[in-house]
Amino acid sequence: MSSDPVTLAAVEIGSSKVAAIVAEYTGYGFTIKGWGECQSQGVRKGCVIDYPAVTQCTQQALENAKRATGGSSGVPVEQIDKVFLAQTGGHLDGFYNEGARIVSAADNMVSAEDIAEVRRLAKAKELPEGRMLLERLRHPFRLDGRLIKSSPEHLCGRRLEVGYWMVHGDESRISDSYHMISNSQIEVAEMVLSGLASGRVVTSQAEREHGVLVIDIGGGTSDYALYRDGLPYVAGAVAVGGGHLSNDLTIGLRLSTGQGDRVKLRHGRAIVQCRDKAQKVWLDGDLAIGDRQLPLLSIEKILEARVREIFEVVKHKLGTAFSPETCAAGVVLTGGTSKLPAIAEAAAAVFNTPVHIGQVSDGFPEPLQDPGFHTALGLLQLGIEKQRAREAAERSQRPGFLRRLFARPSRH
């Protein structure tokens, strides 16, 4: 990105809310100019089902971001240059593909051509019809079984391997969420998986080196990102989230949707602590008509079952990629549902690793330290990093002045 000030916005369109952070990037760092959120409408399990409503919510979140820091320093929507958009939803899926190549040089020294070829082979897997690639997560190179985190060029070995975890999604759904932003005449510069975005801010580089699993439990989906050897290894999303907890309470206790949500927030707990079947809690506590008592044990049991199920689903999705041994830093929980009491214990019971609730640096404004903003915050950081990496790659591919000067004229 150029050193001219660029106004960026990170937008996460979730099932329960739309969060936006507006920042100004000068080439050396970014300054947060505002943040805002809006209750989401028209999004279900991370997928757009009501285009105008979601568009309205997105605009409102950006407008709120303008107002959050006061009229003078807020950035009008029309001045936003680029948007980083978080992507989630049950339609996301991933697969691993690997490429291998025998090093071509007689002295077994890996050349740039070997690297490019092995990468091309690893990326060559075609996607099914109607699917669109969202993210490629490169695993470390392996040279005769040795892990090479950076470039293996000039190292010696016979067999060079590299693998990619490719995340893809439904083409129409990705286009829908893409157009949520582009219809505001703002360029979508990056689309980033929500799990990767959250993992960027709630984990440290050391944790990522040791191996860590980040689970961002949102309203309709739960995003996950597994880091190993300092790199994202597997990422994806499952279509269960905090909304399912409320829904289970609504069905199990015969409540309305709003009541189920309130009970979850007021009396919810991820593991059963209550041993007294007779212990009751009031639904609203205002002794009004309709207010009634609910068994606390039932509430906790319902929530424990669903929370456990969420983690089980994530674990199942990870498959063999996750093991407590390769995830020494444990599991980090974030997202709005991570505020549910005892959820870390519930996760630890499933994953058999230490679990803690993710926190961001104290340098950020206090409202942004809420788990609800972790994805947008990480999105901003990751988006800037990806933009810089992309520009650096373009610059390196561009021939220099001398090379252009002495280049042979093309025959064509």
């Binding site: 029309e78 990326k123 893409y178 582009s182 505001s184 979508v188």
Partner: protein, 354 residues
């Protein structure tokens, strides 16, 4: 492999939120406005350039055009076309652009009959001259050089002495002569022969505004009297603030010039006095309207008769020399033999009229 970057960015306006559509329209309007502004700027610049080019063309046409065909004179006085043509003395082939208007203006102003001049080029071949002129109040005889013959000159209200041209001879003949005036030469600026002969070489005469006021009052209020006035002397104006007038029949009528508004009163007084003195007008030598006195609410003025003149028949009121207050005094002593003048006052109520 198809990635999210292959999604086209463009979105149909119908799919945009209302705020974005409004913003989009405002932006388009802004561009249209900018384009219109630029277009207007270009058109304006083109028009200005064209006007300038045409103006230059007109000027060049005018400069290459025919010589001046007409000089139009607009004046508030008596100067005529012949005078202006003679005075300007334009070369026969001169065009409007050849003229030095400042020099022509100075040339016209050299004639002191002219107060202001305005010269306007009316393309292609007309020169318009607007003048304001001085009006003569009196005449004066001026010698251009010591021992030379006197030349009659005119004097305007502002005291300027000028030769005057174009006036009706009868009008000039009615103007009184000025006397008791010492003309002073002007500084070197106006010392041209033409200027000297035209009266331009003299300083304006002091007090002419008062004289003009007196003469105008007399001409308007008592034209019969005014016609008899021959000489107006300013000899005692500066020292005693008195203006002396010599008429056909009276040697000297003295007016008080201290207050110009009093001329009307004094002329009326004179008129009534002459009406009252029904003797031969030639009998009166001097009437001094500059002094007088109030007696029983009436003003009395001294009148001096010529020696040996017959003043019988004069209707006299007030205390005469005899001390009587009778209306008619059949005979009155001659003025010269009398150490003190006789005081007369008109028969009409003085307080009301004067």
């Amino acid at each position: 492999m198809r990635t999210w970057r292959d999604i086209p960015q463009n979105v149909k306006p119908r799919a945009m939120p209302r705020a974005v559509r409004r913003r989009l329209w405002l932006r388009r309007l802004g561009w249209v406005g900018l384009a219109c502004g630029l277009a207007a700027l270009f058109v304006g610049a083109y028009a200005v350039a064209r006007m300038m080019a045409e103006g230059e063309l007109q000027l060049s046409r005018a400069s290459n055009a025919e010589p001046i065909s007409e000089v139009v004179l607009r004046t508030n006085g008596v100067l005529d076309q012949a005078w202006i043509v003679r005075r300007l003395a334009l070369p026969p082939e001169a065009t409007l652009l050849d003229l030095d208007l400042a020099a022509l203006r100075e040339r016209l102003l050299a004639d002191r009959q002219v107060i202001t001049v305005s010269l306007t080029r009316k393309f292609p071949t007309t020169l318009e001259v607007s003048l304001s002129e001085r009006a003569p109040v009196a005449r004066i005889n001026v010698r251009a050089s010591a021992g030379g013959p006197p030349r009659p000159q005119l004097v305007a209200r502002d005291g300027v002495v000028y030769a005057g041209s174009g006036y009706d001879a009868q009008l000039l003949g009615e103007l009184p002569w000025l006397g008791g005036v010492k003309l002073r030469r002007r500084a070197a600026g106006g010392e041209t022969r033409e200027g000297r002969e035209g009266g331009a070489g003299f300083e304006p005469i002091f007090g002419m505004a008062l004289v003009a006021e007196l003469l105008a009052t007399a001409r308007n209020e008592a034209p019969a009297l005014y016609k008899t006035w021959r000489v107006v002397s300013l000899a005692r104006l500066e020292s005693d603030a008195e203006i002396e007038v010599k008429t056909d029949s009276i040697d000297r009528i003295i007016f008080n010039a201290r207050e110009s508004a009093g001329f009307l009163r004094q002329i009326a007084q004179l008129d009534l006095l002459l009406d009252s003195v029904q003797a031969s007008p030639g009998a009166i030598s001097e009437i001094n309207l500059a002094i007088g006195r109030m007696v029983d609410g009436r003003i009395q003025v001294p009148v001096t008769f010529r020696e040996g003149a017959d003043s019988h028949g004069a209707r006299i009121e007030g205390p005469g020399r005899s001390g009587t207050s009778s209306i008619a005094v059949p005979a009155y002593p001659p003025v010269r033999s009398s150490p003190t003048p006789n005081f007369f006052h008109p028969t009409r109520p003085a307080a009301r009229e004067f």
